[in-house]
Amino acid sequence: MKRIRTIAAVVAVAAVFATTACTSTPPGSSSDPSEKANLTFWSWVPGVDKAVDLWNKENPNIQVKLEQTPAGSSGTYAKMYSALKAGKGAPDLAQIEYQELPGFVLENGLVDLKPLGMGVESSKFVDWQLGQSTFGDSVYAVPQASGPMGLYYREDIFSALGLKAPATWDEYAVAAKTIHDANPAQYINTFAPGNSAWFTALAWQAGAKWFGLDGDTWTVNIDSDTTLKVASYWDKLREAGLIKTEPDFANGWYSDLQNGNIVAWPSAQWGGSILSGNAPTTAGKWKVAPLPQWDSTYASANWGGSSTAVLKGTSNAQAAEKFAVWLNTDPQSISLLLAGGYGWPAAKNALAGSTLDKPEEFLGGQNANKDVFKKSDESINTSWGWIPTTANTYTHLNDGFQAAVEGHGTFVDAVKAAQTATIADLEAKGLKVRAGD
């Protein structure tokens, strides 16, 4: 009897615990800006430590303690979510990628920055990047940077084979065959089956729009003909054995980049610092061309993109907002972040005169930012948005792509399966959802 009562008490306590954890997050208190504030900031962007040092030197009253974390999807988001659920342990500020913002908004984890100053300061940012952190009438993060895409390729190897940078995806497929036929160890690129963010960007370029919001109802349109066209294109290259399917951002891939077994990479502007950092011996041999095209109208896409958000439970939301805006708009801060390779600034007019606008030795003296990425940035379909369960969608695609690489099904199957699974994910969150756009 006693035991039953104990169990009942435990259940009751657990229930109370669960409900309070969901509802009682104290609002960020705003206070006098001259007041002292100590803030913690989780970020993994290279170079951010230098920007934070600069801020701390200039702002003795608002001291920011940077904690450098692994990339968000490598466990840091999980840590933030559990800290938010627990109601303590979350940092005041955090790096959050655009595709993850709706998830944090859904868990009621972010402070609305609009009344704290972002409403006025929003004009400092590129519209579409601001749109990535605006939900309804609220601005939940300060935009930081994006990843307009281009094609990195080994100019030396291409020209030795008489190839030019492919202007269309058809030409790209021909180049893939020429390269692999000439040297069976060489491949044009890897289709990393575990990195569906990359595939998502390529579908974005082709004109797909996966997610939307119709009133209170989320719309999911992953398996559109446009996306299936992209998936089937890579299916054909994979079935012909013309691409590698090893993971990217892994040692095997770095080693292939170093020894020239992978000779191209459709990637974002920040990809240059990945290449120069991991294959330094290939310096001077790379060039950047515009992303190969599907149609005659030039279209680009964005891969990656990040913001600085203020998390619920912060000790001083006003000070945190002030720092977040400074970090992403101050020219000196932007220079320091650019030096680390954080991407394409979300602040307006950041190219001219900045460290971005100069020839790069790694690219054999090409000024790729001016030649390629500026136009790429201007040609992104900016109506693209995300859902609160984007991470799940990535997982479904990864699982399907990996299965295809292992000989079970195709990339097309993976895309179709991700559509169904994504609708189920949103339903599981208690949200309204329908297929279509």
């Binding site: 169990i7 435990v10 259940v11 657990a14 229930a15 615990f17 669960a18 409900t19 969901c22 999807s73 466990g75 988001y77 999980a78 979510y81 559990s82 659920k85 709706p102 998830g103 908004v105 859904l106 868990e107 009621n108 939900f135 309804g136 089956p193 575990g194 919001l213 009133g215 209170d216 109802t217 989320w218 399917t245 090893e246 993971p247 951002f249 892994a250 040692n251 095997g252 080693s255 292939d256 020894n259 609160p388 369960t389 991470a391 799940n392 997982t395 990864n398 699982d399 792509f401 990996q402 299965a403 690489v405 292992e406 000989g407 994910d425 599981a428 969150k429 208690g430 949200l431 309204k432």
Partner: protein, 273 residues
């Protein structure tokens, strides 16, 4: 002890209801009965992951226990020279944290970096440790490397506790070394073997760190490669604690069933000496 279990069961029968696109109209937990269990068991990837760890256990447990027992008997039989060295050497991998061990082996498995793969290709062998057909056994290799020495030590401890008089009596009766092993040592170290087997069953069914670390290196490891990985992914990547709880409870039931099933099997068929 029971609190986390009760909480897990509570979470596993709970769902969430929201109004508004971002739940701004309020959200509340609702009782959903067995819905999460139905979702878990309806997901072919989760069911496949259960099948995968069971297959893993069927192969891994006997290999591990036979190897550990053989090593223990060898060390026990060997002359004094080198015994201490080998005992420490076999035990050493246990001191390496599982994550580090997986990273080390990950390097040995990655084409382009691995001396093993290079050596194989020099001999004309195309070794693919990270492919779909081999990855489970590549993980088995890491697990065996790590824990065989530990299990061996548990068995050695029991071997040491055998009364020396028994061996003396056996040699007077003219028993050879093999007979000593099969008639005296093996029956007397039975409890240690049973114990290490149960631990190994539980350990293999809960397979987690090794596939998590190798995941970035291998396209064969999906987000739900093992049930634990699936629950981890649901809880921390997808924020679906309820489904994660249901999966965890199911996994605990499977581990329980197999451990107790094994114990029941050995106590029924066993001949206590």
């Amino acid at each position: 002890m029971v609190l986390p279990l009760v909480y897990a069961i509570y979470e596993s029968v709970t769902g969430i209801q929201r109004s508004g696109a971002f739940g701004q109209g309020g959200s509340s937990p609702v009782f959903v009965g067995l819905d999460n269990y139905i979702t878990a068991l309806g997901a072919s990837a989760f069911v496949a992951s259960l099948g995968r760890v069971l297959l893993f256990a069927v192969v891994q447990v006997p290999v591990m226990i036979i190897l550990a027992t053989a090593l223990a008997l060898l060390l026990d039989a060997a002359s004094a020279w080198g015994v201490r060295f080998f005992r420490s050497a076999y035990f050493l991998p246990y001191g390496v944290p599982g994550v580090i061990a997986s990273i080390l082996w990950g390097f040995l498995y990655t084409p382009g970096l691995s001396p093993l793969v290079n050596f194989g290709s020099a001999l004309g062998l195309n070794l693919d440790f990270l492919g779909g057909g081999s990855i489970l056994w590549s993980i088995a290799n890491i697990v065996t490397w790590q824990y065989a020495g530990y299990n061996m030590l548990v068995i050695v401890a029991q071997l040491k506790s055998i009364d020396a008089d028994l061996f003396e009596a056996a040699s007077i009766d003219g028993a050879n070394a093999w007979q000593v092993i099969t008639r005296i040592k093996l029956p007397l170290i039975r409890p240690a073997i049973v114990l290490t087997t149960v631990f190994t069953i539980i350990g293999t069914i809960q397979l987690f760190a090794e596939p998590l670390v190798l995941k970035p290196l291998s396209s064969a490891i999906t987000s739900s490669f093992t049930p634990n990985l699936s629950a981890y992914n649901e809880a921390f990547a997808n924020n679906n604690y309820n489904l994660a709880a249901a999966e965890s409870v199911l996994l605990a039931l499977v581990a329980c069933a197999f451990s107790f099933g094994f114990l029941k099997l050995v106590t029924r068929g066993g001949s206590p000496s």
